[in-house]
């Protein structure tokens, strides 16, 4: 088909309208915005490519070209979703795209030609239907945007100074600490969808505890002096970015402990700096992405993915820890890539291991720097280690 620019845009809008409507319904059902965000991004990517590339490069577009163009749009969509921080589960998001693509093919080859006699000779233009589709897409996006705006959680500012804790957050809100805002005695999250930004927590049994609530975001939160764990997560999902956890002097606590969250979805720990404690980051029965963190001076392990956990451990730096740098343990499945583990010291129970796979675990190691440890890599108790590259 030889599309006109208007034809491309009208056909795309009309084909995406049902998908956008379905995404809105899905968002309502899931109480998550990612379907609408993904569909809107899909539309944006498509329209940008239509206007800037396809129209100029494809004066005629054979049917088969829709396949590589679809793959290109999917790749761009995934990249942009990551860049924009849209937390969509991969498989449902890809399924949404594929459904939209198939629907567009079906409508382009059959639906629109049936609807409009001269669809092909008009270069994909749909006349009034095209204009109505544009209005429909605009109305849906405006309605979704308006709803999102209306449902924004309230923002609570924590003023500079020391606030006596434990601070209990029992509703969906964004807690933003002004410079110098400190909570002494810990923060307890008791609602879904809580965001905590720029807050320092000192003392308490746990610095921050999230038990049974999903969608918590911790952004630039610092914790020090906790008696047990710095950040303690159970039966919940969290996204932790750019945190700082100081556990020096605490021989048995974990910097971040995320446990028993397998049924709740992925967790993310990124860009954190953890010092001291028994373990820097520990996950039990959880799915997690652990990336770009720095862990030092722990007394047992730097990063532990254990008890049937799954996830990725990428581009972390583990320095001067005692015992084991990174461990994949107890039936866990770990992808360990481009990490640096140096200066691991022996402990009474370990000879100083850079990476350890133990007790029926499976680990994929790629491009890690593990050489500067007494034992760079160890495998115990029927675990499987795959190392296609240098590790």
């Amino acid at each position: 088909m030889s599309y006109t620019l208007r034809g491309r845009i009208e056909s795309r809008l009309a084909a995406l309208l049902p998908l956008l409507a379905a995404a809105c319904v899905l968002a309502l059902a899931l109480h998550r915005w990612w379907p609408v965000e993904a569909a809107a991004l899909m539309l944006g990517v498509g329209l940008a490519l239509d206007a800037q590339a396809y129209h100029r490069l494809l004066p005629y577009q054979p049917g088969w070209v829709a396949v590589p163009l679809g793959a290109l749009e999917l790749a761009l969509l995934v990249l942009l979703m990551r860049w924009a921080g849209i937390a969509a589960p991969v498989e449902p998001a890809v399924a949404l795209f594929v459904a939209g693509w198939l629907l567009a093919q079906l409508l382009g080859h059959a639906g629109f030609p049936l609807l409009r006699l001269g669809y092909a000779e008009d270069g994909g233009e749909l006349g009034r239907v095209g204009a109505a589709a544009a209005v429909g897409v605009g109305v849906l996006l405006a309605a979704a945007g308006g709803t999102a705006y209306a449902l924004r959680p309230p923002v609570v500012h924590l003023s500079a100074g020391v606030h006596r804790g434990p601070l209990v957050i029992a509703r969906r809100e964004v807690l933003v600490g002004d410079p110098g805002a400190i909570v002494r005695g810990g923060i307890v999250v008791r609602a879904d969808g809580v965001t905590i930004k720029n807050v320092s927590v000192v003392g308490g049994d746990y610095g921050v505890v999230v038990d049974g609530y999903d969608g918590t975001k911790l952004d630039r939160v610092s914790v020090s002096g906790a008696k047990l764990d710095g950040i303690h997560v159970r039966f919940a999902t969290v996204m932790i970015k750019d945190c700082s956890v100081d556990m020096l002097g605490n021989a048995y606590g974990q910097g971040i402990d995320i446990s028993y969250t397998m049924d709740h979805g992925m967790n993310m720990i990124e860009g954190c700096n953890l010092v001291g404690g028994m373990e820097g980051i520990a996950t039990h029965s959880s799915m997690s992405d652990i990336a770009h963190n720095t862990i030092t001076h722990t007394t047992l392990r730097g990063i532990a993915m254990t008890e049937m956990s799954m996830g990725t451990i990428t581009q972390n730096e583990v320095r001067n820890v005692t015992g084991v740098g990174i461990v994949c343990n107890d039936h866990s499945m770990c992808e360990v890539e481009r990490n640096t583990v140096v200066g691991t010291r022996p402990s009474p129970v370990s000879r100083g291991v850079g990476f350890l796979a133990s007790y029926l675990s499976e680990a994929d190691l790629k491009h890690n720097e593990l050489g500067a440890n007494p034992v760079p890599v160890a495998v115990l108790s029927n675990s499987i280690l795959r190392r296609p590259g240098r590790s």
Binding site: S2, T4, G7, P59, P62, L117, G118, G123, E125
Partner: protein, 364 residues
């Protein structure tokens, strides 16, 4: 009855199928010399032993492009192969499939209830319509008179060795094929297949393209710019676009290449001593070659440009079309609006424009 089609060939038949979206057979009058819409086309296809259409899935007579012939072939054969081939622009229906499709449409559309087997020699504009040679006055008329006749180069007329490609013929031992289009290429292969030695005589190297004109000219993508050209530019563009062409592909090139290597195929500048001369030189061109169109132009002083009657983008004649009446052209005579007007897609294009006019006329 207010709507009439003059011409009962494939262009008229395609227009009829489009009109049937809105009108009953009793509301449409079709004037033509043959009740079989494919009669003329079938004779020509048989003469050049054509087995496959040059057109693709949408080369059919239905008003909508979907379901096309690939979809129907897939359903009939219970195989995805035709659809996949169409997806790759490799699907060409067989001539038999196309003719069966025409026959099926003819039976179910009420065509025979609308056809009046008579030739219309003259169309005259009257108040609010057109008088068709004593057969009545109609508010909306589409003229699809077809090709005005076979073209044989003047220097070859009267030569007893000469036969036109579109007339029934066999092949002599030595055959000269004059022309460079699809019929000529088909005749090269036919004659070579029959064991003949073939000489190709042509004024220019053939253009190699899948369809009659570049694909952009089948949609507004190319047509909008074409419609904006002035008369001189548009005439030049039409001459360039309508130069003889045939598809690319090994099926065409390999037999010719093999025969050339064996000394059985060569290109020459003029006809020489072959036992048979096949003129694959298409049809006579221009509205002056068609008595009906020539009279129409003369009677109404219509604007023309070189060989073509000047029509609007929707193939209607501007001087004779207004909010109360429509005179439109279809088939080869509508090339001023759609360069590939003598294709099935071109016939649909003119038909869609005609239907829009009929729809918009409150007094139809």
């Amino acid at each position: 009855m207010t709507v009439a089609l003059v011409g009962s060939g494939l262009a008229g038949f395609t227009a009829y199928q489009t009109l049937r979206v809105e009108l009953e057979p009793e509301e449409i009058a079709v004037f033509g010399t043959d009740v079989d819409p494919a009669a003329a086309w079938r004779r020509r296809a048989a003469a050049i032993r054509q087995r496959e259409m040059r057109s693709e899935s949408d080369g059919h007579c239905l008003p909508r492009s979907f379901p096309g012939l690939a979809f129907r072939a897939s359903a009939r054969r219970r195989s995805p192969v035709p659809l996949v081939a169409s997806f790759l622009d490799r699907f060409h229906p067989t001539v038999d499939e196309f003719l069966a499709h025409v026959e099926q449409l003819r039976e179910r559309s009420g065509w025979e209830r609308s056809v009046r087997e008579t030739r219309v020699e003259r169309v005259r504009a009257t108040d609010g319509g057109f008088e068709l040679d004593g057969h009545g006055t109609f508010r909306h008329v589409l003229l699809a008179p077809g090709h005005p006749g076979l073209n044989v180069p003047e220097e070859l007329r009267g030569d007893p060795r000469v036969v036109h490609a579109y007339e029934p013929h066999d092949y002599a031992d030595t055959v000269t094929v004059v022309g460079a289009g699809l019929a000529a290429a088909t005749e090269w292969l036919n004659a070579l297949g029959a064991g003949a030695e073939v000489v190709s005589v042509r004024r220019r190297e053939p253009v190699r393209q899948q369809l009659n004109v570049p694909r952009a000219y089948f949609s507004r993508r190319g047509l909008d710019a074409f419609h904006e050209l002035g008369p001189a530019e548009r005439t030049a563009r039409l001459r360039a676009l309508l130069a003889p062409s045939y598809p690319r592909g090994r099926a065409w090139d390999e037999p010719v290449g093999r025969a050339a290597a064996e000394g059985r195929f060569r290109v020459e500048a003029s006809v020489n001593g072959s036992a048979q001369v096949i003129c694959a030189t298409g049809f006579r061109r221009g509205f002056r070659s068609d008595p009906l169109l020539a009279r129409l132009v003369d009677d109404h002083a219509l604007e023309t440009a070189d060989d073509w009657i000047v029509v609007d983008a929707d193939a209607t004649v501007p001087a004779l079309t207004d909010e109360t009446r429509t005179l439109a052209l279809a088939g080869v005579s509508a090339q001023w609006a759609f360069p590939a007007a003598d294709t099935l897609v071109g016939a649909k294009y003119a038909a869609h424009g005609f239907l829009r006019r009929v729809r918009s006329c409150r007094t139809r």
